[in-house]
């Protein structure tokens, strides 16, 4: 069955994300707009994943948890888990690699950890969009060894994508690569291409979903079976809103 997916969404935790985009709003609008499997991928942190897990359950959609990590070369990489605990452990590991850069919320945006009812739990004062002290290869390996789906983000964008930052897409433990426009097979180096909304504002949610062909029962467990997702991605069972 073709499942409507979107693996790239921010919440009010990301400084560039709208304050209106709580996990509750993300889950609700995702459901209203027809998404079935949705990932929350804030910059370098999964602190809003617990709220998103609760809200997604409440909305009857399936969730993945993780982040959009920033390598030292400023390449963005989606790192996705199906279990909350694994995502939070990885988030803690990443926090240890985040430099403490000067952070002015008035200039760079607010970073807000909330619960499912939108109560503020914390306001991290370390800039979450900073580059980690992990190079791209080490970052991808660290995520993969922890069982994450590793998906280089928007590789075709003029900034923060593997191709703009490194000149090309290196080999790596990728389940897929994300593009925002039709991408040539040579640029994708044989990896399955998906897309994503990179939603920072409510109007962005579900603007660029993709279809993933999954077997019946993919969503019948307590949480999504990540291996089923991984296999479907690697086998290329993907339908894009634009051509290949």
């Amino acid at each position: 069955m073709l499942v409507a997916c979107d693996f790239h969404n921010h919440s009010c935790l990301s400084p560039c994300g709208s304050l209106e985009q709580s996990p509750a709003v993300l889950a609700r609008l995702a459901r209203e707009r027809g998404l079935e499997l949705v990932a929350l991928t804030d910059h370098n942190s999964a602190l809003n994943a617990p709220a998103f897990a609760e809200c997604a359950r409440g909305e009857g959609i399936q969730a993945l948890f993780g982040m959009e990590a920033t390598s030292a070369e400023e390449v963005h990489v989606l790192c996705l888990f199906s279990e909350l605990r694994a995502a939070l452990d990885f988030s803690e590991f990443i926090a240890g690699h985040l430099p403490r850069l000067p952070y002015d919320p008035a200039r760079l945006g607010d970073q807000v950890v909330v619960d499912a009812q939108e109560n503020v739990l914390d306001l991290p004062d370390t800039y979450l969009c900073a580059a980690l002290d992990l190079g791209f290869d080490r970052l991808c390996e660290a995520a993969a060894v922890r069982g994450a789906l590793v998906i280089p983000a928007h590789i075709d964008r003029p900034m923060f994508g593997a191709i703009s930052q490194l000149g090309f897409l290196p080999d790596g433990p990728f389940s897929a690569v994300e593009a925002v426009r039709p991408l040539s097979a040579s640029a994708a180096r044989g990896f399955t291409v998906i897309t994503g909304s990179d939603a920072h504002y409510p109007e962005h949610i579900a603007r660029r979903p993709f279809g993933l062909e999954l077997p019946e029962g993919w969503n019948s467990g307590i949480h999504v079976d990540l291996e089923i997702i991984r296999q479907a991605l690697q086998a290329g069972r993907v339908r894009l809103p634009f051509g290949s």
Partner: protein
């Protein structure tokens, strides 16, 4: 050295000139914004090819007065709009970062 010298002395194209008499005390050459955030000094010129509005946000945070976009890179409208809001000058040149760094080094330290 002052801001307006960037076009008066070196002939860089003034995309958004800002306040011309602002003093320039240093320059920093980098294309990684996280590196600029960590290392660039207030009152600097940033020499880069990163022509996008995130560069303005970082410049504003650090107190960078002007950005010189090298290699004739196109400056998008939203970057100019952000520069106007923050009163940060944007200059553009066909010269490489090496050449621009050399010119500013000579002027500031030579």
């Amino acid at each position: 050295m002052k801001l307006s010298d960037l076009s008066a002395l070196f002939g860089f194209e003034a995309v958004f000139p800002a306040e011309g008499t602002t003093a320039i005390v240093d320059a920093y050459t980098s294309d990684l914004l996280s590196d600029v955030m960590a290392k660039a000094a207030e009152g600097s010129v940033l020499i880069t090819i990163q022509a996008h509005k995130n560069t303005i946000a970082v410049a504003s945070l650090i107190g960078i007065r002007a950005i010189v976009i090298c290699n004739e890179r196109a400056v998008p409208d939203d970057m100019v709009a952000a520069a106007k809001d923050e009163a940060i000058a944007i200059y553009r040149t066909t010269k490489t970062q090496f050449e621009v760094s050399g010119l500013l080094y000579r002027e500031l330290r030579g």
